[in-house]
Amino acid sequence: MITLTGAGCVLLGPSEPSCDPTPFLRVRKSRKFMGLQDDLAVVAAGRALRQAGLSDGLGPRVGLYLAVGYIPFRHEDITPVLEASLDPEGSFDLGRFGHSGFQRAHPLLTFRCLPNMPAFHVSVNFDVQGPYFVTYPGPGQFYTALQEARDALESGLIDLALVGAVAHQNNFLVAHHFSRVVPPVAPEALRDVAAMWVVETDASPRSPLARLESLDVSYAPADIAAPSQPFDSFQPDGELGPAGLALALAQATQTSGPSRHLHHTLRSRDGFCAKSHWSLS
């Protein structure tokens, strides 16, 4: 059985309008490569590790299991490219794009939106050298990351796992995606969020914050162009991408009380049905 010994989260909004990863950066020169999804992941990981009493030198026996939301792209990043790629009639001109348009993009733009980059920044700043599973893009995939981490811990492949999810969703590309699904998600519901857990086996000497009591994941995808299954279309904190469970449990561990439990269920657009039961210390 596996336990949480640390949890950290960032949910951008009125109470935390921005996040600064600088205090957690072991490799300061990596800052210029970081987009918002990288900032969110590093801050959540740093907070989780700090709660677990761990420092940054994690090494080869620590694995990273991360679900990343849809690829972000901001208007302000693509607008200069587009402006230099239009003909006088305002239509896209491939020749102009290839000659000069694409060079108007920030040279580090590619690094700031790739879905494997949050894993890179977490690994380099906390020296995570173990196995990994980086997956994409929804809440069902977070459950698969959790399955992979549990199996790696229980088989002895690793001693400790960083498990989490990150989603940078307030941008035109992710907003476009959520505007076309059924039912559509309004842009104002999209949240920028990350949550990370430190996960270990029962044998850990660290005090557990929560224990996984049961985990069940099933999969029955519908025809993607004709969704016929019900799914969870509303979350109280807004659309959290893959980070719903990770955030809920991280927040639950930050409150206290008598014997408590968290039951999480999921029916996702892409066909996952999942549930987990956690007992909180």
Binding site: F102, T110, N116, F133, V134, H176, Y219
Partner: protein, 409 residues
């Protein structure tokens, strides 16, 4: 000791050397290049104007090439696996595990979407293909078509994703979570935004006048990688299931290992620490040692940074045997298929194991003093192999290795 051994019973491939395993293998052993001038769009004004384009299947769901490649490769693999014996075990006992390429968006659609009065297309199918197609849709489509309803795995570990997908699928089977898997990778980035993105990073070869000589792993005059596209899919099964249904077994997936470099965003650890670690873990998982490695299908990108560091990692792993173990770079012929690379290269490695030959690394003409191993230059040769390492090292420090073994060993 793993509860279950895992074997390959079917393979499918779409790549710049063709849309069948036989055609792919023939091209590999002939040392043929699939790299050409880009024809998918007018790349005349781009710094890089060459790539390895794959033949497009007739059916292109949602207009997305990588989805079409994945579905075609999966069909081939399932036909292959079902050609002898009864059909593989599917349903909840089967899962999809795929490395899937990036969702790039259409600049033309972007301009359209910014025009006054724009409204999204009417049908969900049209909306899902406007601007960009969610790349994970191919997982659901593969699962529905073949009846694989185990918990799927989507991998986005960049250039290591295809290898990770096969390794993760093998783990799912080995520990008893499922009994069958369709595993591999698919990618297509030969479009304006994809080519421009890599040009911005100065990562791709600009040897535009000699497309077929542009991808030259381990050669002193290499100047970057050549983009490729396509998909590779393998059918993996529990050994006892495959034997029980009378399937033809092509190879065994004996081991898988992965690691994070925790070093540089676009450059590998200078001593190849992560690459070495992934290979060691794969061999440990297989219950083998460096002395058991008969050949390596290298990552071999043809970039200045990768090839010498990969060489260092192999030397650290194999010690004094390093110069005697053949090392093949499939990318010399098909370019870099990014998320599909590891899967297509695993199929190349299995073709080598089956035939008792190693395919060449073409365009290796000027030896690089920092790349001084046996890379099988330019000509295939006979070489019996029991255990082969197939390796992939991704942008951002993701390293993955598989041990593929001859069956019966």
């Amino acid at each position: 000791m793993k509860p279950h051994r895992v074997v390959v019973t079917g393979m499918g491939v779409v790549c710049p050397l063709g849309a069948s395993v036989e055609g792919f293998a023939q091209g590999l052993f002939e040392g043929r290049s699939g790299v050409r001038r880009i024809s998918l769009f007018d790349a005349a004004t781009f710094p890089t104007r060459i790539a390895g384009e794959a033949p497009l299947p007739d059916d292109v769901p949602l207009g997305d090439r990588k989805v079409a490649f994945a579905l075609e490769a999966a069909r081939q693999a399932m036909r292959h696996a079902s050609a002898s014996g009864t059909a593989p075990r599917l349903g909840k006992d089967a899962a999809i595990s795929m490395g899937v390429g990036l969702e790039l968006f259409s600049m033309v659609d972007l301009v359209t979407s910014r025009r006054a009065g724009f409204v999204l297309p009417a049908t969900l199918r049209e909306r899902l293909s406007f601007l960009q197609t969610p790349s994970d849709t191919c997982i659901a489509m593969m699962a529905r078509e073949h009846g694989c309803f185990g918990s799927p795995r989507v991998h986005v570990s960049a250039c290591a994703a295809g290898t990770d997908a096969i390794g993760a699928a093998a783990r799912l089977i080995a520990r008893g979570s499922v009994r069958t898997a369709l595993a591999g990778g698919t990618d297509s980035m030969i479009n304006p935004l994809g080519v421009a993105g890599f040009c911005t990073l100065s990562a791709t070869s600009t040897r535009n006048d000699e497309p077929q000589r542009a991808s030259r792993p381990f050669d002193r005059t290499r100047d970057g990688f050549v983009m490729g596209e396509g998909a590779g899919v393998l059918v993996l099964e529990r050994l006892d299931d495959a034997l029980g249904r009378g399937a033809s077994i092509l190879a065994e997936v004996s081991g898988y290992g992965s690691s994070l470099d925790a070093y540089g965003i676009s450059e590998p650890h200078p001593e190849g620490r992560g690459a070495w670690q992934a290979m060691v873990r794969a061999l440990d998982d297989a219950g083998l040692g460096p002395g058991d490695v008969d050949a390596i299908n290298a990552h071999g990108t043809s970039t200045r940074k990768n090839d010498p560091v990969e060489t260092l990692a192999i030397k650290r792993l194999l010690g004094e045997r390093a110069g005697r173990v053949p090392i093949c770079a499939t990318k010399s012929m098909i370019g870099h298929l990014i998320s599909a690379a590891g899967a297509v290269e695993a199929i190349a490695a299995i073709c080598c194991i089956e035939r008792g030959w190693v395919h060449p690394t073409i365009n290796l003409e000027s030896p690089d003093p920092d790349c001084d191993l046996d890379y099988v230059p330019n000509r295939a040769r006979p070489h019996v192999q029991r255990h082969v390492l197939s390796t992939s090292y991704g942008f951002g420090g993701h390293n993955a290795a598989l041990v593929l073994s001859r069956w019966p060993t």
